[in-house]
Amino acid sequence: MSTRRVLAIFLKEAQDIRTNKNILLMYLLPFVIVIIYKNFIPNMPVGFVLSFGLMFLAALVGMYVPAMLIAEEKEKCTLDVLMLSPATPLDIFLGKGLLTFVSIIICTVILIFVAGSSLSGAAPIIVGMALTAVFCINFGMIIGLLAQNQMATGVIGTPLYMIFLLVPLLAQLSDSFITKLALLLPTHHFFNMLRLVLEDGKGLGETINQLAIILASIIVSFILLLVVYKRRGLTQDR
């Protein structure tokens, strides 16, 4: 692994996504949701609006962006030339993941402003988002490895985006099978953590259970990523 090469990939991705309409749309979605909920639905609590927007940011951007970044490189054969360069697969994963991670953290801070929440209690939100983003980025990478092209990321990824995004939201509404399923999802625990912080005013120490579950999920997703990488590799022998 080389910091220079990771930063080179990070910089390239940062330059590239500025004109990538598909990806920019994904970044825009959480802001649109927050603005609509805040301005057009009366008496909507700020905490709930922000939680909703942050869930979209973590699950959609966190999974979709790395999946698309890897799948596009495969589809356009740029990954072939990248693999012939000194860049290792680890450099490529870290460079792409870092771009997604940094952009999510920046968007989190902006979303807090847009939702009208105070930055003074933002530390637990940012810590929770950072951990959830790592989990989602790992999963996005797995989708990218499994997909042969950008369209396939939609086919493989959409059911996963729905599960990680909608199940935690639906679990808030009913006590059923969905609630039990939600307990398995780190995004559910992130959503609960956000509600504890934003609606009940809890601090970082009081959300330690949720953070521990998300941390454990990161380890599981990392192992899964390694297994998929070992089986599929970044490029297939064509």
Partner: protein, 280 residues
């Protein structure tokens, strides 16, 4: 520079490459010729470590291509057939990215862009470039880390004659500067102009190899075609017949010869003769 012995690659039941053996000397331009699907790209992919061979051995600079890929890759550049550039990035951003990856001198970007006549276009997104321009950018990208060996897969396929001529000039200059060049092509004219030695590849097998001159002489019909004053059709004379020399000398002395040609085949003719199929 390159030593290949009994190299083969099988995809399922299909042999993409069968027992190919050849060598490329340092400082040489070597042409690998064959129609589409002959195994040219497969050979480049094996030599560059992108895919593993099914059998045989290949060495580049005395390093095994299956074991020392990263050391080999540091010393070689590849211009693929498909323009795999980042289309949303500008020419400069594309090249700058690879300079950073290779830790190469970034001042070379302007040097090479100037050399290929693209300096004024460096802020243009690659997606807006013509195919010829993209090919030049691919060539520069392959040169940024100063490789000693350059692979080019169909470097002028689909290019207009002017762009192809520019690429040829640059390749000749690079070769004069000491670079070894391995190129695949199905364009016989290109190969005759550029290559010191060539190998014909057909259905995964090498069917002939040598310098273009050697191959032409080897497969020449050993005939002379002579057009004399007052005649409308050429006379065909066998070079090895004893009376041919006397007849030609007499016609020349008498000033009767309008034109005289030896019947050397083109590389395309030789390929058709060896394989029974057209290279295009």
């Amino acid at each position: 520079m390159i030593k290949v012995l009994n190299l083969s690659k099988r995809y399922g039941q299909k042999d993409a490459l069968k027992d190919a053996s050849f060598h490329v000397s340092r400082g040489e331009i070597f042409g690998f010729l064959g129609p589409n699907g002959a195994g040219k790209t497969t050979t480049i992919k094996i030599l560059s470590g992108q895919i593993a061979p099914t059998g045989g051995t290949a060495y580049i600079m005395d390093m095994d291509v299956t074991r020392e890929q990263s050391r080999i890759q540091a010393n070689m550049g590849i211009v693929p057939e498909k323009a795999n550039l980042y289309e949303r990035l500008t020419i400069e951003q594309n090249l700058d990215f690879f300079c950073r990856l290779y830790n190469a001198d970034r001042s070379q970007i302007d040097y090479y862009l100037h050399r290929v006549g693209l300096l004024q276009e460096k802020s243009t997104p690659v997606g807006k470039l013509s195919k010829g321009m993209k090919q030049k950018v691919l060539l520069i990208r392959a040169l940024l880390h100063k490789p000693s060996l350059l692979f080019l897969d169909e470097p002028t396929s689909g290019l207009d004659p002017a762009s192809a001529a520019t690429i040829h000039t640059i390749l000749r200059q690079l070769n004069e500067e000491g670079m070894t060049i391995f190129l695949t092509s199905h364009n016989m004219e290109e190969v005759e102009k550029l290559c010191h030695r060539v190998a014909f590849l057909n259905e995964g097998s090498i069917v002939a190899a040598g310098t273009p001159e050697e191959l032409k002489l080897q497969y020449a019909a050993r005939q002379l075609r002579v057009l004399l004053e007052g005649e409308e059709t050429e006379r065909i004379l066998e070079i090895d017949e004893p009376q041919t020399a006397d007849a030609v000398a007499a016609w020349l002395r008498a000033g009767k010869v309008r034109s005289i040609h030896s019947s050397e085949p083109t590389l395309a003719d030789i390929f058709v003769r060896l394989t029974g199929r057209d290279i295009q």
